[in-house]
Amino acid sequence: MATDTEDTDWLSTDARLRWQRLKGRLFVGVLVLATLVGVLALAALFAYIGRDALGPFGAEPSWFLLYFGTAVTPIAAYTLYVTGRLRWLGDPHPDVRTVNDTAFAVVFGSLVLGLVVYAVATALAPEDVAIYVVCLSVPPLLVRGYARRYGETHFTGPGTPVSVLFGLGAGVVVAVTLGETLALLVDWLLFLVVVTLPAAALLGSLAVRRFSRRWGYLTSAAVLVLGPAGAIGGIVAGFDPALGVVLASGVLAPVGLLVADTVAHRRGGWPGLLGPVVLIGGVLVGATLERSLGITGLNSWLTPTLVFDSWSSTDPTAAGIYPQLVGSIIIVAVMAVMSFPVGVGAAIYLEEYAPETGWGGRLATVLDVNISNLAGVPSVVYGLLGLALFRNAFGLAPGLVITAGATLGLLILPIVIVAAQEALRSVPDELRQGSYGLGASRWQTVRNVVLPEALPGMLTGTILALGRAIGETAPLVMIGVAATRFSPPEGLFSGATALPLQIFASAGNAIPEYRTGVLAAASLVLLVTLLAMNATAILVRNRYENN
């Protein structure tokens, strides 16, 4: 039956539709321009900083060629292969992608984590860190072990946080009494406690889950052996044995477990393991060749000196920001410890427990609105608050780590609360109803159903807030944090030091290289740190969304 070809002219575009389509396209164009403004401004900033910090125009063309050949090309080719775009090499095994992602995460994650732990623990006094690691982990583990063995949940539930507090107190006592004695011990022995023991426990339990009980014990034993081996290696090779312990048991061990796991469970994906090797290997080969062939590299201010040495106000090439970097990291840690529990607690109360009607309801609404307002308060005002509260009211000395951490913690507290509230709101109400329908109390519902569901969102929000706060300068100035210190802080009550302050200070230095080169390089370091934190937040979010 042929279709009636009566009057179907109305199907074609007429002038009206064409004009509408044009209007649509113009609109899209304007939006794209608006987006580009933001993107281009940022790109210009990065280009400017990059030029100042890295000095790319100082390098020979052959330098670029060298690294293009040894680093860029291999990794690009490898990526193309992994994503299945190199047809003539064949399609990669489906597991390659996952193994590759995991490999990069494990290698670089453990590297970064290990180095941060090493830097912070060395700064703070390894014996103290060791003491607290033991005191804060052993009591809860005992409690949980008891719970699992005897199937008891009534008392062991609240018992866990209580045991942590107990551990804290015990830690303080032990630190005061035994601190000096333990300080006499060689550093790397203490790092065995700080890194090797937890690594052995964690990797062992992972191995139990992925393989079997027996393999779990073997893995733990292997890690325990790697620790001292790393120390010996460090002594032999001439670098800090403590670093050797960290690298061996904190980086090598997880990588080893990953390789074993891949071979056992995802054998087809073994090419994925090569990713980090290709990248790091390429860079190393390039660096070696650069040195041996004598090619002039970048005229970069981002040098190991910058990252690992301490400051010099007179010689730009000797200026380093290591203490400030460690200081910032310590402040972030203090911020996190202070703001996360408090913020999450407040959010849970406002979302789950606060009444909706009556006087209680009105109070809750007032609180809610004001917390959102607090998020917009200028950071300088928080500095003032820190000044009034910690310096004047508590009588603490100016510019302590704990003051800085607390002040910035208060700064991000409203943001954490709002993020946590959003995360809690995103938990569908049907889950709560389902839990109540099964005879659970509100507390049980929050703890077993709502919190686990909302936790990734809360973590993401907190990490993003921390990332924002790491660059806050004004409050730190207000509470009197010194701009330049020559060693990282030693404890909570020692003088703080932070990267943004140093950046600010170097902007006022008479010598021009400080204002261009060092400033740019330090800013770059700060940006990279920030990027790393944001990337972690995104990874956390993605991982839990896919689960």
């Binding site: 009607t357 049907e430 839990s435 109540y436 329908g437 099964l438 005879g439 077993n448 159903v449």
Partner: protein, 284 residues
């Protein structure tokens, strides 16, 4: 299910003569129609959401180990009524409940009754399947864990068998419950509700979000469940009520209980003209 006509003491809205003593209907032949012991009874139940009245003096008895269905047009209060039985309405701040709901003779709205304890004897399955984002095993075990009851593989298996789901998931108990199909998720919700061994299972339109095949499975399941549990089900699908229930209560707009009685009588020869009009579709 051949049930003969019989006089039922609770037909009109305002009857308050329902007593908690066991009801035995006098009739000639069929054994199925004997109404057993009353498990739940409401007396003059009024529910208000703020100023709006959702239920009007509802008095109704629910016999044990039978399927009692509530039908009626949208917004007639049947879900509200269901949620009164396990005090889920307590979670709604604007809800006000007057009257009595008796479980085995004890008023559930008395001062000394703990709603959390109550919900451990009266379970609930909701319209949208709402499994927790945990493993299948943990979903079934959840109710028992929060009630401090023992959990072992056998109990979980039994619950899943009773919910006609064991064969389909026995090899994937560790997998996330969210990977199951809609019908399977709903049966999982039923499994976790019966894992705590309740006396009564309340179901709020349990099959309305499912396709016909899954619906059919749920209906068969409900008929089996009635051998061990008392089932109270709200459904907007009259034919479903006709198929699976032993007794039917008809609510009409405004929260009024218009008629209640054996399903066969309500659908073949209802006492009330309004019920007749509703059932024949002459008005919504």
């Amino acid at each position: 299910m051949s049930q003969d006509n019989m006089t039922d003491p609770e037909q009109s809205t305002n009857a308050t003569a329902t007593v908690s003593a066991p009801e035995v209907d006098t009739d000639e032949s069929s054994i199925d129609s004997t109404v057993g012991r009353t498990v739940i009874e409401t007396r003059d139940l009024d529910v208000y959401y703020g100023d709006e009245q959702a239920l009007q003096e509802v008095s109704l008895s629910i016999p044990e180990r039978q399927v009692t269905a509530m039908i009626g047009p949208s917004g007639c209060g049947k879900s509200t009524f269901l949620r009164c039985l396990n005090r889920m309405n307590d979670l709604v701040e604007t809800a006000r409940v007057e009257g009595e709901v008796l479980l085995n003779g004890r008023n559930l709205y008395a001062e000394d009754v703990d709603p959390v304890a109550l919900r451990r004897r009266i379970g609930m399955v909701f319209q949208q399947p709402n499994p927790f984002p945990k493993s299948i095993y943990e979903n079934v075990a959840y109710g028992r864990r929060v009630q401090n009851k023992s959990v072992d593989d056998e109990i979980v298996e039994q619950a899943l068998r009773r919910a006609a789901l064991w064969d389909e998931v026995k090899d994937q108990l560790d997998q996330s419950a969210l990977e199951l199909s809609g019908g399977q998720q709903q049966r999982l919700c039923i499994a976790r509700a019966i894992a705590v061994d309740p006396e009564v299972v309340l179901m709020d339109e349990p099959a309305s979000a499912l396709d016909p095949v899954a619906t059919s499975k749920i209906e068969d399941l409900i008929e089996e469940l009635a051998e061990d549990y008392t089932v109270v089900i709200v459904t907007h699908n009259m034919q479903q009520a006709a198929r699976i229930s032993d007794r039917t209560a008809v609510f009409l707009t405004g929260g009024e209980l218009v008629e209640v009685g054996p399903t066969q009588r309500v659908f073949e020869n209802p006492d009330s003209d309004r019920v007749e009009d509703y059932i024949t579709g002459k008005f919504g």
